[in-house]
């Protein structure tokens, strides 16, 4: 916790697989996080996501829409490589609006 001094908003960290196999559980967690948040800014940490598929992507979209519907801003932060890869592939960076590192395409 010490290395997150500006963690003023409640955060959820998703770790490991963010796929069809974990989707059901993660859906509840994400929705709960959004609903219980007392602040308007909600942060979800993706730094430890090792694998993501369409199911994970769908959940991210759902979270974004749900948060907006409740007048909150959701931020996905510290995207891991697989997440960045997928967002890039689907051209959804603009949709999420989170600052991401633009990697050189090689």
């Amino acid at each position: 916790m010490a290395d997150m001094p500006e963690a003023v908003c409640p955060a959820l960290a998703i770790a490991g697989e963010f796929t069809i196999f974990t989707a059901s559980t993660l859906k509840e967690q994400i929705l709960q996080t959004i609903r219980q948040a007392e602040m308007t800014e909600v942060e979800i940490d993706l730094s430890n996501v090792t694998e993501i598929d369409s199911a994970g992507l769908q959940l991210m979209i759902l979270a974004k829409i749900e948060a907006l519907g409740r007048g909150k801003n959701i931020h996905f932060t510290r995207h891991s490589d697989p997440v960045l890869d997928l967002i890039d592939l689907c051209d959804l960076a603009g949709f999420f609006g989170d600052p991401v590192l633009i990697r050189s395409k090689n």
Binding site: A55, Q58, E66, C90, D91
Partner: protein, 765 residues
């Protein structure tokens, strides 16, 4: 709907389509560049082919397919519309009708129909080959699968600029559960090409509560650049073929195919900008630009232009594509508006309905009478309310059977075209009053007499081009069909600008045939009407059209059977108009009930002009000549009592009425109705401009009447056109006013003729 019903619908729809096709073919001959008409023709053939395919009617499909090929070439401007091609297509159209007839009859078409199919297919093919010689490549494409959309101008024919493939993906719900990851397919695509742009569709994701995390809601639209062939790209989606909808458009696809794609997208109410991005026609950046322009316009206080307009004005997308997108949006809304504007009803059901309403009218008349007799005010009130409602129901029911005459008229375009080719005269048909409505049964029965009149006018009426030019007329003859409503009947006119009827020739012929005596003096009208006599023909030569045993007498008989009449206006050298008058409906009329002795008669109300009393002075003044002076005009009249030989009411009935006298005394109005003061009245009727008076005993007022035809035994009775049943259960005869008026008019003409010929003897008499 079982298969039989579906097949019936197919037959009906095909007939309608063929009718439209024929109509469009006739019009397209005049304006060969009208894209709308050409498309209408193509669509008709295309739809019939498609529907026939559903029913497995292979012979129809094969035949129609060939026609469609030729039409597609016309549509792609590879073939020109020529009168030769139109003739061939009209034959094709007729033959398709014949094939449909066999489908309806449920039998396989006989040999000769099959060989006719082959013959026409050969001719269509050879016609197509002439065109194909100039553009072989596109023909081959057209044959494979012509897109059912309009190709507009040159913009439509060429492909879009994009060098890239366009891939449209919609994944099924269970894709994830089945162990497949949609994005992995997209990732796979990157192994042999480059994704230029991609749009992820997220709309399908439901609200948080309904969403199942294991369902797939995603869709993608890709703009994809690759050197691989279509098979390779298709192969990428081999595993999800059953679980996803994949559409792949090759580079430089025609605009129509983008149309197609937009039309087939499942999403509703999507914003135009998004559709365009999905099509790959626009990049998101282009869309952003457009959006910015829109925002600026809004900030500047201008009315926000719809995004489609902005895009077009900036030349980013082709107007045709925008149009397709807009059309899709409109369609979505229209569909929601409900499309059940028309329903098909079996004609028999409708007739049954009208019959029942007829019975209802009789029953309500009877109730009305009983209420009147009972003298209970509430009952009279209730009965009159019901009467009014029944009248409304009758009107709306009759309206159901009303159809516009336009469809019937349009059929004659073909007749005129064919006949003018056949007899080598250039004749055009002009139609007016096509929106005039009349009863469906009348429309059906008027077709044959009209055909005959038209053929007759073309053959005998309109002169050959040389004669016309010599007479200072345009070389092209004009035939005019007109319809209008006139005092409760419909008048249909067939007018030609031909030579008119030659009175001398008609008279000479009539004398030769013994129809008139040489010394007989006839009025113009009488002479003209002679052409309706059996066995009368002034044609010097018998050709294909005339002299086939269907004379003008048959025309008149058919029209008389419809309670109609015919009139001729003709001026020699200028032209002839033959006017048919028909009652608007055959079933129910508003009648005027009159009494003569103990009998009741009904006069159709539309023909009644007024009623006047026939006073003793007028009878004296007429000197037994059956004419009376009506406000200074001479009005011939007929005494119905004499005409039908009606005796004075027998005493017995009067006794009965006297017994009821006490009751009648309570209500003087009723007493007057049932036993009016003895006097004679004249009902003045007007038909086709002729007026006549009918002398009756009592006037009993308006009465709705269901016309029932007389049995065959009484069919020939003059002056009666039918009967009806009164509320009391008595029978009333319906007067044939046209017949009576003709009789009076005829009598007058003869008298005048006699007067002019034998003036001295008339004076002595």
């Amino acid at each position: 709907m079982n298969l039989d019903d579906a097949l019936k619908t197919f037959v009906i729809e095909s007939r309608e389509l063929l009718e439209n096709m024929e109509e469009a073919l006739l019009k397209v001959e005049q304006s060969p560049d009208d894209a709308d008409l050409i498309n209408a023709i193509f669509r008709a053939a295309h739809t019939i082919k498609g529907s026939a395919g559903l029913f497995g009617l292979d012979h129809v499909v094969v035949f129609t397919h060939n026609a469609e090929n030729v039409l597609d070439m016309v549509r792609a401007a590879e073939l020109r519309i020529t009168s030769e091609l139109v003739a061939l297509l009209l034959e094709t159209c007729d033959h398709m009708g014949a094939l449909i007839d066999h489908v309806e009859a449920g039998n396989a078409p006989p040999e000769e129909v099959g060989s006719r199919s082959d013959e026409l297919i050969d001719r269509l093919k050879s016609h197509a080959n002439q065109g194909a010689a100039s553009a072989p490549e596109s023909t081959a494409m057209a044959v494979s699968e012509p897109p059912p959309f309009v190709r507009e101008g040159d913009a439509a024919g060429s492909g879009v600029e994009s060098d890239n493939w366009h891939i449209s993906l919609r994944f099924g719900r269970d894709v994830l559960r089945n162990g497949m990851d949609p994005v992995s397919f997209i990732r796979y695509l990157t192994t042999f090409g480059r994704i230029v742009s991609i749009v992820t569709l997220t709309e399908a994701i439901p609200g948080a509560d309904q969403m199942d995390a294991e369902d797939c809601y995603l869709g993608f639209e890709l703009n994809y650049q690759t050197t691989a062939d279509k098979a390779t790209i298709e192969g990428a989606f081999e595993f999800v073929q059953d679980d996803a909808r994949v559409r792949i458009l090759p580079p430089h696809s025609k605009v129509v195919e983008y149309h197609d794609l937009i039309q087939s997208l499942p999403e509703e109410e999507m914003r135009l900008g998004e559709i365009l991005v999905r099509c790959g026609t626009l990049t998101p950046a282009e869309l952003d630009l457009a959006l910015k322009a829109q925002t600026e316009a809004r900030a500047g206080g201008e009315l926000e232009p719809p995004i489609g307009e902005v895009l077009v004005s900036q030349q980013v997308v082709r107007p045709a594509v925008v149009e397709a997108a807009l059309q899709k949006q409109k369609q979505v809304k229209d569909n929601k508006g409900g499309d059940a504007a028309l329903i098909r009803v079996n004609a028999e059901t409708l007739d049954e309905h009208i019959n029942l309403i007829g019975e209802l009218i009789i029953a309500s008349a009877s109730i009305n009478l009983l209420a009147l007799k009972s003298g209970v005010p509430e009952q009279i009130e209730a009965a009159s309310v019901m009467n009014r409602l029944v009248e409304n129901v009758r009107d709306s029911a009759l309206q159901l059977r009303m159809v516009q005459i336009g469809a019937t008229f349009n059929k004659f375009q073909r007749v005129v075209r064919d006949v003018s080719k056949e007899i080598g005269k250039d004749i055009q048909l002009e139609i007016s009053g096509a929106e005039t409505e009349l009863d469906k049964t009348v429309v059906e029965k008027i077709g044959d007499p009209l055909t005959h009149l038209i053929r007759n006018s073309m053959d005998h009426g309109i002169e050959s081009a040389e004669v016309r030019l010599a007479r200072g007329k345009p070389a092209q003859g004009t035939l005019r069909l007109n319809a209008y409503h006139d005092s409760g009947s419909i008048a249909i006119e067939v007018t030609d600008d031909g030579g008119g009827l030659s009175k001398e020739r008609i008279l000479a012929k009539a004398i030769e045939r013994g129809l008139v005596k040489p010394d007989q003096a006839l009025g113009d009208n009488e002479i003209h009407n002679l052409i309706f006599e059996p066995g009368f023909s002034t044609a010097e030569r018998v050709n294909n059209l005339s002299g086939r045993g269907v004379g003008m007498d048959v025309v008149r008989r058919n029209i008389t059977a419809l309670r109609g009449s015919t009139e001729i206006d003709s001026v020699e050298g200028v032209g002839t108009t033959i006017r048919i008058r028909l009652p608007l409906t055959l079933a129910i009329i508003d009648g005027f009930l009159v009494g003569v002795g103990a009998s009741s008669f009904v006069v159709p109300l539309e023909m009644v002009e007024e009623c006047v009393e026939l006073t003793q002075e007028e009878i004296d003044a007429s000197q037994g000549r059956d004419h009376l002076n009506l406000r200074g005009e001479l009005l011939p009249f007929i005494r119905l009592k004499d005409l039908f030989d009606i005796p004075e009411p027998p005493a017995a009935i009067q006794d009965d009425e006297e017994e009821e006298g006490e009751k009648l005394a309570i209500d003087p109005e009723l007493a007057f109705l049932l036993q009016p003061v003895k006097r004679e009245n004249v009902v003045v009727v007007n038909y086709a401009g002729h007026r006549a008076g009918l002398v009756v005993d009592t006037l009993q007022g308006e009465y709705q009447t269901v016309i029932r035809p007389l049995g065959a035994v009484f069919n020939g009775i003059e002056g009666i056109s039918g009967f009806t049943i009164l509320g009391t259960g008595h029978v009333a005869l319906i007067l044939d006013v046209p017949g009576l008026v003709r009789r009076v008019a005829g009598r007058d003409v003869r008298r005048h003729a006699l007067a002019s010929n034998y003036a001295p003897s008339e004076q002595t008499a």
